[in-house]
Symmetry: C2
Subunit: 219 residues, 2 copies
DNA sequence: GTCTATATCAAGATAGAC
DNA sequence: GTCTATCTTGATATAGAC
């Protein structure tokens, strides 16, 4: 268990990372259907047959990339939670009442997701591919992380709803879906492709429309 | 020009409608990549070779379906405009000040688009297909209608922004993109697939989050 | 374990009979 | 003008040498 990995294992690990990284980039830029396994192999610098020894299908490749992306999201969320806990303790020691607003955490996650998309590092999969969906749903590593992330976000969502920071009449699932949807929002992509706006500006705008709507008057 | 179409022309027209209708359904349900020309031919009830005599490529098929969808959207918008004009005249005759709020028109369009999606009749195309995008951008019928629809909506958008019903700090294009995005919103599809909510309920919720945001408290 | 070369197959597109 | 049968291509996946 705690044994130091051998040189060979480390090389394997590096190669796997190269593959998953290539898949991640290609999924983020071209999407699943346009991504070919030949491209992945060329990008990762190995022969296609070698790649198929490690990942038995294109669908498994996509699953590995999604697991990586979910891991990054979970790491970001856990970092937020750790910071919030620290801030709470400091505030309690000082003057109390320092709980970090749940809605602020949700906005931070949305910001992170949109920034990731703007950097071309957010892999996205087609919603209407039944074979791929089936493969993902039987992928335990993927489902575990998806559930873990959903659970963590759902806690903040219900907290923000009971606290009156989010509309309590909306089903929590709708809020959750909306946040996931912002991670691959075509509006973000269109604004980016227009080339007129900075990433910061795009994120601010879409975040504003997501939480406050198109009608909101800046105060 | 005004001549009555021959029987033969009418038959052709019926057949074309059958083809475009099949493409529309398939694009709405499976998406462009998963749609095969064999399916289209089978669905429309003719041989693939005959289909290729009428539409020289799969991309042209998609373009024809999109033109149809844009025509329906334009018809809906023009109907709204006609009704608004009528209402204004009636109000002016009575007591004046009866201008229909531009934002109400935009909400009506968003409602119509989401209802169309929920009925499985909103064709959608992949954003990341350069060959298909190129084909559409050189499709005059498509571009004409896309511009016409964008122009009509943009008038309402700037009107609502100067009237203070929409946030005037947002670029009008962002508002336009957001409305187009709602027509194929994955959140709508997910809520529908959950099977828990009525179409009316889904539309109300997503409309509320679009214009008033996730934070809005129902008054 | 990695590569070259190939099998296999699905899907877009076409030829040619009627 | 429509159909059956076929061509062609590109992409997933694999066999077999080294």
């Amino acid at each position: 268990m705690g044994a130091r990995p051998s040189i060979k294992d480390q090389l394997q690990r590096v190669r796997q990372d190269a593959i998953v990284g290539a898949v991640n980039r290609l999924l983020a830029t071209k999407g699943y259907d346009a991504m070919t396994v030949d491209e992945v192999a060329a990008d990762a610098g190995l022969a296609k047959a070698s790649l198929y020894k490690l990942f038995p299908s294109k669908e498994e490749l996509a699953g590995a990339a999604m697991v990586g992306a979910l891991d990054r999201a979970l790491a970001f969320v856990d970092e937020l939670r750790a910071q919030a806990e620290q801030a709470e303790q400091a505030e309690q020691a000082a003057q109390g009442g320092g709980k970090v607003a749940a809605v602020a955490q949700l906005k931070a996650v949305a910001r992170w997701a949109m920034a990731t998309q703007l950097e071309g590092e957010m892999p996205t999969l087609p919603a209407h591919n039944s074979s791929l969906s089936a493969s993902l749903q039987s992928n335990d590593a993927y489902m575990d992380r998806l559930l873990a992330l959903s659970n963590r976000l759902s806690i903040w969502i219900t907290e923000a709803q009971t606290g009156g920071q989010l509309n309590p009449q909306l089903p929590p699932d709708l809020v959750l879906y909306t946040l996931f949807a912002r991670a691959c929002d075509p509006v973000v992509a269109l604004l980016k492709d227009s080339g007129q706006y900075s990433h910061e500006q795009i994120i601010d705008w879409v975040l504003s429309t997501t939480f406050d709507g198109l009608a909101h008057q800046a105060g």
